[in-house]
């Protein structure tokens, strides 16, 4: 689970199976399904768990069927570790 950073949700009934997202995905996460939707198109499915949430598939999708989620969990836990703190140091946090 730690490797997974992103996820996509596909509205398969609107998908027309143009495969542009399959080519755009740098992780080869997406492929066309063997099944068809109501329109008769093979729709896209996620076949791997290595999605990074890069949005490329959603950007090239002509039918806007892809919703992208991305998790940046580690940043919240620990921003930085400060050692050797001296008295006259000032620390600015943006």
């Amino acid at each position: 689970m730690a490797k997974v950073k992103g996820d996509i949700v596909v509205d398969i009934e609107k998908c027309k199976g143009c495969e542009l997202c399959v080519v755009a995905c740098p992780q080869d996460t997406i492929a066309l399904s063997d099944k068809i939707n109501k329109k008769g198109y093979h729709y896209m499915v996620k076949i791997k768990d290595n999605c990074t949430g890069c949005e490329n598939c959603a950007l090239v999708c002509p039918d806007a069927v892809i919703t992208v989620y991305r998790k940046t969990g580690k940043k919240k836990e620990k921003v930085a570790t400060i050692t050797n703190v001296q008295k006259d140091m000032t620390l600015e946090v943006n």
Binding site: M1, V4, G6, D7, V9, V10, D11, I12, E13, K14, K16, G17, C18, E19, L20, V22, V23, A24, K39, Y41, V45, K46, D49, G53, E55, N56, A58, L59, V60, C61, P62, D63, A64, V65, I66, T67, V68, Y69, R70, K71
Partner: protein, 270 residues
């Protein structure tokens, strides 16, 4: 949006962790209506529709924008864009937009036209609108054929390109040379921002979105005509798969129609 979303078991398992509202980075813009687009699979029209609506949603100008739809494949654009829209006669979208922006100068008016509409039947209207420097945005989708009427040769068809009315390839001696509308209007003093973009891959889509964002900002500042040409594909009439057609755009169309800003505001202030 009442979307029927079917997920695999794996996705449902992952959804507990990732698919929550705070992790959302991309979704269908709400300014796009819930209808299915009628375009062929892989058509660039869908991408440009979505980009326009994304920009309008992000800039929160949904109630200020008026779009003018063309005749051509994008004739039903008013069904998909959840903004005020007006249909124009073939090629006359810029003339209609001129009327709208003169009556309602505070509205942000854009036209959405293809190459048959803007570069063939509407050449005069387009050039004169740009020459007058009306405060409108012209979005020009160039896919080098007449898409709606099944792929006849357009003014923008490349030399040697096979279409239904040029079955042996476009012979420039008989049929003339391709018309580079964007280069033409860049010469006119009325235009403020003229650019050529493409939607064949994710990087170009991001650049196109930035260009649209800029153009709407210039419209708000009442700078003059903004002209965005988007080099697009036509898988059905090029008789290719969508992926092949995007390769064709990259290998043939973009070398002939080089991407980039032909006229940007910095040049004008010199």
């Amino acid at each position: 949006m009442d979307e029927t979303i079917v997920k695999t078991e794996e996705q449902e398992f992952l959804e507990e962790e990732i698919c929550v509202a705070e992790n959302l980075v991309y979704r269908r813009p709400k300014t796009l209506t819930d209808l299915d687009l009628h375009y062929c699979p892989g058509c660039g029209h869908g991408v440009v529709h979505r980009l326009l609506m994304e920009v309008i949603e992000e800039m929160d100008i949904q109630d200020k924008v008026i779009g003018v739809a063309p005749v051509g494949c994008a004739v039903f654009a008013y069904n998909y864009m959840n903004i005020d829209m007006q249909e124009a006669a073939h090629g006359r979208a810029t003339a209609v937009a001129t009327g709208i922006v003169r009556v309602l100068p505070d509205k942000l008016v854009f036209t959405y036209q293809g190459d048959g509409d803007l570069a063939a039947i509407g050449t005069a209207e387009t050039l004169h609108t740009c020459n007058r420097g009306e405060n409108i945005l012209i979005v020009f989708i160039n896919n080098a054929v007449y898409g709606m009427t099944s792929g006849q040769m357009a003014p923008t068809t490349l030399p040697g390109m096979v279409t239904t009315t040029s079955p042996f390839g476009r012979d420039v001696n008989k049929m003339g040379y391709p018309l580079k509308m964007t280069d033409l209007v860049a010469q006119l003093p009325g235009t403020y921002y003229v650019t050529r973009q493409a939607v064949n891959n994710a990087g170009n889509v991001r650049k196109t979105k930035k260009a649209i964002q800029k153009a709407f900002q210039y419209l708000q500042q009442k700078k003059g005509t903004c002209f965005i040409e988007v080099v697009s594909n036509c898988p059905s009439n090029w008789k290719m798969t969508p992926v092949e057609s995007n390769k064709f755009v990259e290998e043939k169309l973009i070398p002939f129609y080089p991407l980039g800003d032909l006229k940007s505001p910095k040049e004008e202030t010199k």
